[in-house]
Every structure is written in C-alpha cells, then in structure tokens.
C-alpha cells in the first residue's frame, strides 16, 4: 500500500452510472458496499483496490422484491434489513437467521449480502451456506451488458473466480420459494459477536410418511470455502427427522472434511462439532414441522 495514492471512491446514483464508473476506473477497480470487509484490508495485509465505486446510493440495489414464487434481494441490502424483511418466510428462515445472527448489530447495519457473497478468501461467511442450501441464483451486470445481466447458480458463481472483478457488479440474489423449511445453525465460541467456527445450513423436504424426500445441506467455516455436503444429503434420504440418528450419519461422513486451522479453533475441532450442529439443525426442523 505504501507509496500508492489513496483510492478514489465514486458515489453513483444508478446502476448504469456505476458500471460506467467501474470501467472508467480501469483494471482492478472494485465495488464498495458496506465497507466492513474492505476497510479491514490493511489489517489482513492486503492492498486496497486502486479505485472503488460505492453501491449504497443505488436504489435498485437496495430493494427486496417479494413475489409468490420468488424473492429477489438487491445486492446492497444490509444484513439488518434482510433479517427484518425475511422474518415472515419459514422457507427462507436459513437466510434470515444467517443475517440476524452474524457479526454484531452495528456491523449488520452496514454489511451487505453482496459483500458477504463477494468477499474473497472469507471461509466464515454466514450468508453463503444459507444461499447454497436455498439454491440461490446470482445476477451479475457489466458495462458491456448492463440490461441483459448474467444469471449463475450460487455454486457456479462461487466456483468461478472471474464471476466478480473485471467491472462486474452483483445486482440481485434471487431465491425460489420452495415451500421447504430451512435452518441455519452456527457455533461461535462466545455466545455472539465473533466468527462462527462451523456453520450448517439446511433446507429439507419431508414427505407424507415423515421421511426426508429432498435435502440441501451446506457447511461453512470448516474448510477454506463453504460448500454443499452432498454425501450427507444422499445419506439422509428416506430417513425420519431424528436428530440423533442423522447426527450419527453425519459423524460417519464427517471425515470427508479437512478442517482449516484458524485463530478461533484448530481444524480438527471444526470437523468434530459438525455432527452436533447437524443434529441441532434437524431438531430445529423437526420442532418446526
């Protein structure tokens, strides 16, 4: 950072202006949403982008549109706004809980869903596993295609390092209303306020006989990046929502994770607590059913 000019920040009012500002600012210019990740770049010994384009004044990025079949969330919606707006919808409970339980109240007032999804090298992002279990679709705009924005399933988005950067802005995150119940369980070492050492988000469909018909389970903070736990999803198919039984299945499959060592906890610990978190998630779903 030393020697470089401090980065300028453009504050556009519309998406086309923002896209134009990003491409005008040149290579490496990046969106600035809540800034709660970007402002700590010096602490992480990372250089700032050469220029930033703020998203907070762009009305269309701050909207949440609720329809019968889908909910579209503007990328600059804050965690606090999201928690409030989604609280009535039980199928989106995983995302509401992720937004309501992350960080602390003042950070939630600033931090955005787009920032959570686009922060690079952030294993403990709360909203990402929730978006994975809810099968979210990410909309991306770029100066060359401001109207016809690209849509990517969140898994493909996370797997593609070129999905952000290069003048691209995530504009909306779209969730289909599945009608399934979903849940987000996290384990911080204090009761709240610090990063979770492990996260389990799940959306589970139960058939007439009380048996699991469909399951999407995602794990965060255990490995370097959040991911689906497809092994467990398959294993619980046809099972009842029995927390002890499903936690035991999770324990037998947990060795497929190689936990990351971090300041809050060593890797083995993150893997060891996973079955317990899975059990808690199932208990919460069973209680709500």
């Amino acid at each position: 950072m030393q020697g470089l000019a401090p980065p300028p920040v453009a504050v556009p009012r519309t998406l086309p202006e923002a896209l134009a500002a990003l491409s005008a600012a040149g290579d490496g210019a990046a969106p600035l949403a809540g800034g709660t990740w970007i402002m700590r770049a010096p602490i992480r010994h990372e250089a700032h982008a050469p220029a930033y384009v703020a998203l907070g004044r762009i009305a269309e990025l701050r909207r949440i549109d609720v329809a019968d079949d889908e909910v579209a969330i503007g990328a600059a919606v804050t965690h606090a706004e999201l928690a409030k707006a989604l609280s009535p919808f039980s199928d989106l409970a995983a995302l509401a809980a992720a937004a309501a339980g992350s960080a602390n109240p003042a950070v939630r007032n600033a931090a955005t869903i787009g920032g959570n999804l686009c922060a690079r090298g952030f294993p403990a992002a709360d909203l990402v596993p929730a978006l994975l279990c809810l099968d979210a679709v990410v909309e991306i705009a770029e100066a060359a295609a401001p109207a016809g924005s690209r849509r990517l399933p969140v898994e493909a988005f996370l797997a593609d390092p070129a999905a952000t950067g290069g003048g691209r802005i995530v504009t909306r995150i779209v969730l289909k209303r599945s009608g399934l119940r979903s849940v987000h369980v996290r384990l911080p070492l204090r009761k709240a306020g610090d990063y979770p050492v492990a996260i389990v988000s799940a959306a589970i469909g139960v058939g007439g006989g009380g048996r699991v018909e469909s399951a999407r389970i995602a794990v965060g903070s255990v490995e370097a990046a959040p991911r689906r736990w497809t092994g467990l999803e398959g294993a619980i198919n046809g099972e009842r929502l029995d927390p002890a039984r499903i936690a035991a299945l999770a324990a037998s499959l947990a060795p497929e994770f190689s936990g990351r060592d971090g300041v809050e906890a060593p890797g083995w610990y993150r893997v060891r607590v996973l079955p317990t978190l899975v059990g808690r998630a199932i208990a919460a779903l069973a209680a709500a059913a």
Partner: protein, 155 residues
C-alpha cells in the same frame, strides 16, 4: 480528496478528506470530537460507536465517503456534565462505570436502544443490542439495569 458534508450533532460540517478515511479519524482529527475511541479498529469492540442517520455504526469501519450527506450523532451531542442525558444519568445512578473506556460507545448504543421502538425492554433484548460493545471491566449487568431503568421511565 473529496468534499464531504456531515450533519454532526445537528450542525452542518463541510470538510475535505480522502474518501476511504474512517469516519472515526475525521471526527477525532479534523473535527476534534474525541469521544469516539479508536480501540480495536476492526468493528468488534464498539468504542467508536456513533449513530449514522439514527442507527448504530462503527466509525472505525465507516469510510467517510459513505457518511457524506448523512447525520452523525456522537457522544458529545448526547449530553454534558451539567446536563447529562437520561442514559448517562442512569449509568451514574447504577454505578455502572468502572474504568470508563467502553463508555462513550456504550452511551451511544444505549441511546439508540432506549429510543422508542428500537429494543424490547427485556434483559435478553438489551444484551443482544450490546453484542458489539465490549466492556473489558465486564460490568454488563449494571449497564443492562441502567438501560432497563431508562426504558421503564420512558413509558
């Protein structure tokens, strides 16, 4: 540099700053309002808390560019030694202040929590509202007592 207008404790202040400068540094170094404290500078401790358009914000992680045109309330605007605010009076009455390092931030967050409609008058709700305000002297119970007392009086 960027021209920025802030409504600080009701007074319009114009200044120029690098846009990514933390609001905390602008308040302390340019406006000489040193109530908000730089302690962790990473959003965890709450010593730098201000109200941005009425909502708690950590000034250490708020780029001044994002505060442009908005209202900023700092602890200096909330009460004085001669005329303490209800929150400040309650903290004194409950003997909640120990070393005092966390208190500027505590007073700002509690001012928000005790304004109507922001927090249910229960211990759990007040504690949840204080998750981002660390007190190293761990005097939380008396701080919560003081907040609940203000909420009671306000009804």
């Amino acid at each position: 540099m960027m021209q920025v207008t802030l409504l600080v404790n009701g007074e319009e202040r114009r200044l120029s700053a690098e846009p990514l400068t933390p609001l905390l540094d602008v308040l302390r170094d340019t406006l000489h309002l040193t109530g908000a404290k730089p302690v962790c500078r990473e959003g965890f401790c709450g010593a730098c808390m201000v109200l941005l358009d009425g909502a708690p914000a950590v000034a250490c992680l708020t780029p001044v560019a994002l505060a442009d045109g908005r209202s900023v309330e700092t602890v200096e605007g909330l009460g004085t030694a001669e005329t303490p605010s209800p929150v400040q009076r309650a903290l004194e009455e409950h003997e909640a202040v120990q070393c005092g390092m966390c208190f500027p931030g505590m007073v700002v967050t509690l001012t928000h929590l005790t304004r109507p409609g922001n927090c249910a008058p229960t211990r759990d709700a007040v504690k949840a509202g204080l998750v981002g305000n660390l007190c190293r002297c761990t005097g939380y119970e008396r701080i919560v007592d003081a907040a609940l007392a203000v909420m009671e009086d306000g009804r």
